[in-house]
Symmetry: C2
Subunit: 149 residues, 2 copies
């Protein structure tokens, strides 16, 4: 993975896993940009999904990590930004393929759906895996198409 910060965020339902992943990233020597939330008090997940998307799209961060109860709402929010390619990941295989085929730059986990060891390993693989390029380049370019009404 190229250098650069990794932006992390969660809502209340993903706070515990976000803290675990953040610690892993820091221990691996990554610069981590923690965009919240900072407790298990109820918040709205789109605010945090948008914040990480903005950080990645602006170049402040190279990759983004999102956690909510399912990862679903977070990934939807982040994908509103056409420079972001975010996906829910349940396993190492999805994490690898999202990088190899889709050049995903944001990964979303569901704290209520997968265990912390699965998420930790999937994140490691996500960060270590290169985009394959080749036949995938044109397809990824089509994902940069902005929103339609």
């Amino acid at each position: 993975m190229p250098g650069g910060a990794i932006a992390v965020a969660s809502d209340h339902a993903g706070f515990d896993l976000k803290e675990i992943l953040k610690r892993d990233l820091q221990q691996a020597g990554h610069e981590v940009l923690d965009l919240g939330t900072n407790s298990v008090q109820s918040v709205d997940y789109p605010d945090f999904g948008h914040a990480v998307a903005d950080a990645v799209a602006s170049g402040k961060a190279n990759r983004g990590v999102l956690v909510c109860g399912t990862g679903i709402g977070m990934a939807i929010a982040a994908n509103r930004n056409p420079r972001v390619r975010a996906t829910v990941v349940h396993d190492v295989t999805s994490a690898r393929l999202s990088r190899e085929h889709n050049d995903a730059n944001v990964v979303a986990f569901g704290q209520r759906l997968i265990g912390p060891e699965v998420a930790r390993e999937a994140l490691k693989v996500f960060l270590a895996t290169q985009f394959e390029g080749g036949r995938h380049v044109g397809r990824v370019a089509k994902l940069a198409k902005g929103c339609m009404s």
Copy 2:
């Protein structure tokens, strides 16, 4: 689920599962709008994700079903449309929660990642589950925020 057509599409890597799900939907009495692809010849998944998103956003279809190798690229493409809430689904639980909490209107499956019986049951649950409303309404409204640059 309210009435209305269901738009389905896949790329080449999701063609077989798309055909299985389409048949299920037709046998259950749904009106199905098949937006392709129609063979296993290589195509670009974003074209099909965008097509289903347009159909759902315009009201031509009430729900959308997407299949590619992983579901990942399709869901990213569909979520470029702020009226679409699309998610990759690996299981019945994700399918249920995507409806209850996120009011998801498009579901994406990965033919290379999950088996057809899992996808068939998850789709049935996706279509049968109502949005919970309540505290989720404001959050879903925030997902309608358009793209940021």
